[in-house]
């Protein structure tokens, strides 16, 4: 029986791992909805917003951030064990975030570059998404996530249905918005054709190429896009490697493409 049927409000928990706080802030950025939402869901654990905490289990856990420490790799297991549904929000939680650039480098050297006494710092060699550690029920992509999509996920859960979040590309949103294609018309490199929709095709609307902050769409043809950017726009391989290696660098599709470009550049 669902919580709604029993009369008790479903319990929401919000958890933070390595991240910028922006995705959980999206919840507080729902200025028009947040107070009514708090009437539909019990905000049981949300340290950024409240001091009081209600013990689990939680009906829905929103998880922000990636796993970068041994302690966090244990903490996420505890979070999973007290969560009926676990939804990851944002590029850090779904792909490892910008901090996953260490996965392509020597993490120890990274620590030494920032801290005078590296021995005070305990961190893993990699930054990995939540799904590498525990079972995830739903992943909401974006850096940052779209707050309306977050409300859709919560609303869908309250109604007992799957969230309706299209897994198509930014191009679809861009066409619907009536934007001029920045790649065709201006020769601006754009990751729109391989990037997951959700932002509303913002960058092209501002005369800028998409930089892939929503991560890969379903079955992205990155190889074709990279070839097109190289052959038609004259993009160099190191630049292409960098384009795919940003906020979703560790997502399998973008990772493979950046490594492919890097290897080819080295030949």
């Amino acid at each position: 029986m669902s919580a709604a049927e029993t009369g008790a409000l479903p319990k929401l928990a919000v958890w933070k791992f390595a991240s910028c706080d922006g995705c959980q802030l999206s919840l507080l950025d729902c200025e028009d909805e947040i107070l009514s939402l708090a009437g539909e869901i019990e905000v049981a654990y949300f340290l950024e917003a409240r001091r009081a905490t209600v013990e689990g289990p939680y009906d829905i856990s929103l998880v922000e951030g990636s796993i970068t420490t041994e302690h966090d790799s244990e903490r996420i297991r505890e979070v999973r064990s007290v969560s009926k549904r676990l939804v990851t929000i944002g590029a850090c939680a779904t792909a490892g975030g910008i901090q996953a650039l260490r996965n392509f480098a020597d993490a120890k050297e990274f620590v030494a570059a920032v801290y005078a006494t590296p021995s005070y710092i305990s961190t893993l060699e990699t930054s990995t998404p939540i799904s590498d550690h525990v079972q995830v029920d739903y992943e909401l992509q974006g850096c940052p996530i779209n707050k309306l999509q977050l409300l859709e996920v919560l609303g869908a859960y309250l109604a007992g249905r799957r969230p309706e979040i299209p897994a198509t590309s930014v191009c679809m949103e861009c066409k619907r918005a009536g934007n001029v294609c920045v790649m065709v018309a201006h020769g601006t490199p754009c990751l729109g054709p391989v990037t997951h929709a959700g932002c509303g095709a913002l960058c092209p609307a501002y005369h800028r190429g998409c930089y892939g902050c929503y991560g890969p769409m379903e079955t992205p043809n990155t190889r074709s896009l990279a070839g097109w950017m190289r052959n038609s726009l004259g993009a160099e391989r190191p630049q292409l490697a960098r384009e795919f290696r940003t906020f979703n660098a560790n997502s399998p599709a973008f990772r493979a493409e950046s490594e492919r470009q890097e290897e080819a550049a080295g030949e």
Partner: protein, 433 residues
């Protein structure tokens, strides 16, 4: 109360941005140890920026903080422009101030209404406060929304805006895109004045200290510091950004993944709204200055608990400044100043909502980033926070553990600490022997 040792510990600070712990140990009224332990995992931005193209620092450093991404974008831009030898002026600079006003509004309102005010009124959260003071919290949410709308109008979205670049913007807004905001901002300015009156009557715990305040001070006589200026202090510092390292240093202490900053051979200093206000009261707009006077802080204040009141005054200023900028706005001919890369070192410093934010980059001839350094406001304030706690506990040792713990947490929140920012940065626990 016994003369034994007491430990007071908040393992996970709430209503702050990021992950920190408070640890305090005292015997009687003698404070033995105070630590703001920052255990937020380090994300190693300064390392991962190396090898990236200089323009990428704008979007990458924004990801340090979801609450103040514009501050990171602005300091990064200023530093890169310094390296490239270009200056962004006129309407482009005005647009930068405008989007920055939006961030001050969004960040200050979030902190003031949802994170800090509940401490003064005895609520555990803004949600609990809303149950009894619905109209007040709704006013806060409306004010916050006005700030977010301003950021989104210029930047495309409120978190990690996409329209900011080195040299200016990808696309400058049309006048007609900004005009509809004007009326909303004017209305919100009225509500910000109510916010000043409301915060002025909160019960302020007693605590005063002769801080060394550090903030920017702009050259223009009518500008409150936001996007540029010289770095000045209440004890005579007056330097340009490139001399930051000569005057300030960062120390790596064991209990923190944030580095502690201090004035070389002097010690802690305070950055943020209280520093900006005390050093630049003469630069407030007439409406904001009058609001400060009516609220009883017209001659400045050294009580850190009154930072909430200063944030309210800065809200009035930010709305006022935004309206002024929109009134004078004409779309610039080009959305950005273009420049060729060159090997150089660039420094940039702006006023994030929480205080001074310094960036330094070494750029290669091809426009790559060879080295990066970022000094966020919270790591600059970390030592001041701990010293405030020492003074507060010594004066309030008679309180029971729970009351003392709450008071200490409130004192930490005076700084609106942003822990994600400062990591390369906070834990609070009270330990009484």
């Amino acid at each position: 109360m016994s003369e034994g040792t007491r430990t007071i510990r908040t393992p996970a600070l709430a209503r702050v941005e990021g992950e920190g712990e408070m640890y305090v140990r005292l015997r009687g009224s003698e404070v033995l140890d105070v630590q703001l332990r920052i255990y937020e995992p380090p994300r190693l931005f300064e390392a991962l920026l190396r090898g990236r193209e200089l323009g990428e620092a704008v979007d990458i450093t924004a990801r340090i903080c979801g609450i103040c991404p514009v501050a990171y974008q602005m300091s990064a831009c200023e530093a890169m422009e310094d390296a490239l030898g270009i200056e962004v002026s006129g309407q482009l600079r005005a647009l930068r101030r405008l989007i920055y006003c939006g961030e001050w509004i969004e960040s200050h309102t979030l902190h003031l209404y949802l994170l800090h005010a509940p401490d003064f009124l005895g609520y555990e959260s803004g949600f609990a406060m809303a149950a009894e003071h619905g109209e007040i919290v709704e006013r806060g949410l409306r004010t916050k929304k006005a700030g977010n709308e301003l950021i989104a109008a210029i930047g495309g979205r409120e978190i990690h805006p996409i329209n900011v670049r080195v040299g200016g913007f990808y696309r400058a807004p049309e006048r007609r895109e900004l005009e509809p905001l004007r009326e909303k901002l004017e209305r919100a300015r009225e509500e910000a004045l109510e916010t000043v009156r409301w915060t002025a009557q909160l019960p302020f715990p007693e605590l005063e200290h002769d801080y060394e305040f550090v903030s920017l001070r702009p050259a223009a006589a009518d500008e409150y510091p936001i996007d540029r200026g010289r770095i000045v202090s209440s004890r005579g510092i007056d330097i340009d950004a490139p001399r930051f390292d000569e005057v300030f240093e960062e120390l790596h202490v064991e209990h923190s993944t944030a580095l502690h900053a201090r004035v070389r051979e002097r010690g802690a200093y305070l950055a943020g709204p209280m520093a900006r206000f005390n050093l630049n009261r003469d630069r407030l707009s007439p409406i904001a200055a009058e609001a400060a006077t009516e609220a009883g802080i017209g001659d400045g204040t050294r009580n850190p608990f009154k930072s909430i009141l200063i944030r309210a005054v800065e809200l009035v200023y930010a709305f006022d400044e935004a309206v002024r900028i929109i009134d004078a706005y004409e779309k610039p001919d080009a959305p950005a100043v273009e420049a060729r890369p060159r090997a150089a070192v660039g420094h940039g410093v702006t006023e994030a909502p929480r205080g001074l934010l310094y960036h330094r980059y070494e750029i290669t001839e091809e426009g790559g980033i060879a080295a990066a350094r970022i000094v966020p406001p919270t790591s600059q304030n970390q030592r001041s926070i701990e010293e405030d706690l020492e003074r507060l506990i010594a004066a309030n040792a008679g309180l029971d553990d729970e009351a003392l713990q709450l008071r200490c947490e409130q004192a930490i929140r005076n700084y609106d600490p942003c822990i994600s920012c400062s990591t390369h940065f906070l834990r609070l626990e009270i330990d009484r022997v």
